[in-house]
Amino acid sequence: MGRVWKYGNDVNTDVIFPGKYTYKIMSDEEMASHALEDLDPNFAKEVKQGDVIVAGKNWGYGSSREQAVKCLKAAGIKAIIAESFARIYYRNCINLGLPAITLKREDIEKFDDGDEVDVDIEKGVIVNKSKGFEIHFPPFEGYVMDIIRAGGIIEYIRMQQGKE
């Protein structure tokens, strides 16, 4: 269970994780403390484990910096649900083990900031408890599901290697 943090279209990687920090090596907590700093100063202070982001089109366009995914994961975000994702951001999400879910605009519009939701990654269901509805999405399969379960592609490779 977590709450929805609702944002609009075209949120770029600079406001997700400010460029001025990208060349500083940071711990996960430190990264989390700067997440969405320039878009929503309350986010980093109030976000809790299991919360989700719901956004419009083209979430995460701009640079290929992985920190823009890592900072949200470190902040406790369980999934990002958007109408569409920038290509590299989407790849980074999966490869870092943060589920990126695409929904149609009509479905995105059903969510409001602060809604209580439950996302079941395995089954492909989002339950909105505040509004009392369910939305299904095609669950990840095979290799991608393995990467998400492992928490990222590097972790997945390490686990595979342990098996050999």
């Binding site: 920038a86 989407y90 490869n95 990840f140 590097i154 490779i157 290697q161």
Partner: protein
């Protein structure tokens, strides 16, 4: 429901009957390519803790970006790659005496119809000219493939770009590519598969088709693709490194967007600084003084490109205020151009013939521009600072426009000298 060519290839590679846009599939690539950046990739690979790559036969490494090494640091990188290649038994390794990766992939028979090719370079869209699915990926992803042999791909939506009509004299694939990019814009096809069709494309040489798929990256496309045909098979004779299958898109395939062009309307085009989609007809650029002409790159460094330049410059001298640098795309191109007397003609006209490789394209070495200088380049990118100096300007055009401009000393219409 019908499938596009890209969908068919991804369905086949993921052993599915059908795939649709948005679906994620996992495939074992036919080849995974990297270049000088293999030095960074192998460090990432080592971090995974794996000792051996999944399959050394599927890894292709081509040194081309900074060859021969301009500094000790680059030389050390090259050496670390050579050592890794030996240690892992990677046979598909091409050292500094081969050429630009995207050209070498074609010449050495890796670019095959319906192959899935991924590479750590944004212009890995090039093999699409052979009817392959080919896309650029990140370095970490290459390291992950070296480790696991797998990559996941989101099936892209397809655009169809239909070109009919005969190309007028003095107008080439580069002009068509620039025209399309100017129209679609630099972000107009982000993540899409762009499929080039129509009689103009069918009549084009393989080298010219490669210009289109190479430049697909400049509209943001995931991949660019042309259906393979007789010409493709002809080219692949004695080259193909693996069996291949020619696939076609279905009649009822669904395309998200359709663009149609009449080639007979085209004129030579120029992309003005600093974006590739800042495209204008040649007359708007005519007369802009230039200091350097750069003929080469994975976009336009093939024999037909050097040949047209030689045709324009035969028996003439380039303008004394212009430096013309010629970088054949590979040593195979170099040798053929040499045998045909093309290199001699260009040298006699005053051009400097350089070694095959990326050369000044990415601004890492050779042929740097001074502050305030302007360059007419046949490359695919004109971003600020791309050739190493943010205070210089890069104009993009066809090899014919490059030669005509070298002759005059300013950007000129090649139709007047051809």
């Amino acid at each position: 429901m019908g499938m596009t060519l890209t969908e068919k290839i991804l369905a086949r590679a993921s052993e599915k009957k059908e795939v649709e846009p948005g679906e994620i599939v996992t495939v074992e690539p036919t080849w995974v390519m990297s270049h000088d950046n293999s030095a960074a990739i192998l460090l990432k690979f080592k971090k995974t803790g794996m000792k051996k790559v999944w399959n050394p036969k599927k890894i292709v490494i081509i040194l081309d970006h900074t060859v021969p090494a301009p500094t000790a640091e680059y030389a050390n990188n090259h050496t670390s790659i050579r050592e890794f290649v030996k240690e892992q038994g990677i046979e598909n390794f091409w050292d500094i005496n081969t050429g630009i990766c995207h050209q070498v992939m074609a010449e050495k028979g890796y670019d095959l119809p319906s192959a899935v090719i991924v590479g750590a370079d944004s212009h890995t869209t090039t093999p699409g000219a052979f009817g392959a699915f080919a896309a650029g990926i990140g370095r970490s992803e290459v390291a992950a493939i070296w480790a696991t042999g797998k990559i996941w791909l989101r099936v892209p939506e397809s655009y169809e770009i239909i070109v009919n009509g005969e190309m007028p004299k003095g107008v080439f694939a580069k002009d068509l590519a620039l025209h399309i990019i100017g129209d679609v814009t630099a972000s107009g096809a982000v993540y899409k598969a762009v499929e080039f069709k129509g009689e103009t494309i069918r009549n084009m040489s393989i080298a010219s088709r490669m210009v289109l798929t190479n430049m697909s990256a400049e509209m943001g496309a995931k991949n660019g693709i042309v259906e393979a045909d007789k010409k493709t098979e002809e080219y692949l004779k004695n080259r193909a490194r693996a069996p291949y299958k020619i696939l076609h898109s279905d009649e009822d395939a669904e395309y998200e967007k359709k663009y149609e062009y009449d080639a007979s309307d085209l004129v030579p085009k120029i992309a003005f600084p600093h974006t590739v989609d800042n495209v204008h007809d040649i007359d708007k650029a005519e007369g802009i003084n230039i200091n350097q002409v750069f003929l080469g790159t994975c976009t336009n460094g093939r024999v037909e490109d050097l040949e047209v330049a030689a045709r324009i410059l035969k028996g003439k001298r380039i303008n004394p205020d212009v430096r013309m640098l010629v970088f054949p795309a590979s040593w195979e191109v170099w040798r053929e151009a040499d045998e045909k007397g093309i290199l001699k003609t260009l040298a006699e006209a005053g051009a400097v013939i350089m070694n095959p490789g990326c050369g000044p394209c990415l601004g890492a070495h050779e042929g740097a521009l001074a502050d305030g200088e302007k360059c007419l380049s046949t490359a695919n990118r004109n971003f600020k600072g791309r050739m190493g100096n943010p205070n210089a300007e890069i104009y993009l055009g066809s090899p014919a426009t490059a030669a005509a401009s070298a002759l005059k000393g300013y950007i000129s219409d090649p139709r007047e000298v051809l």
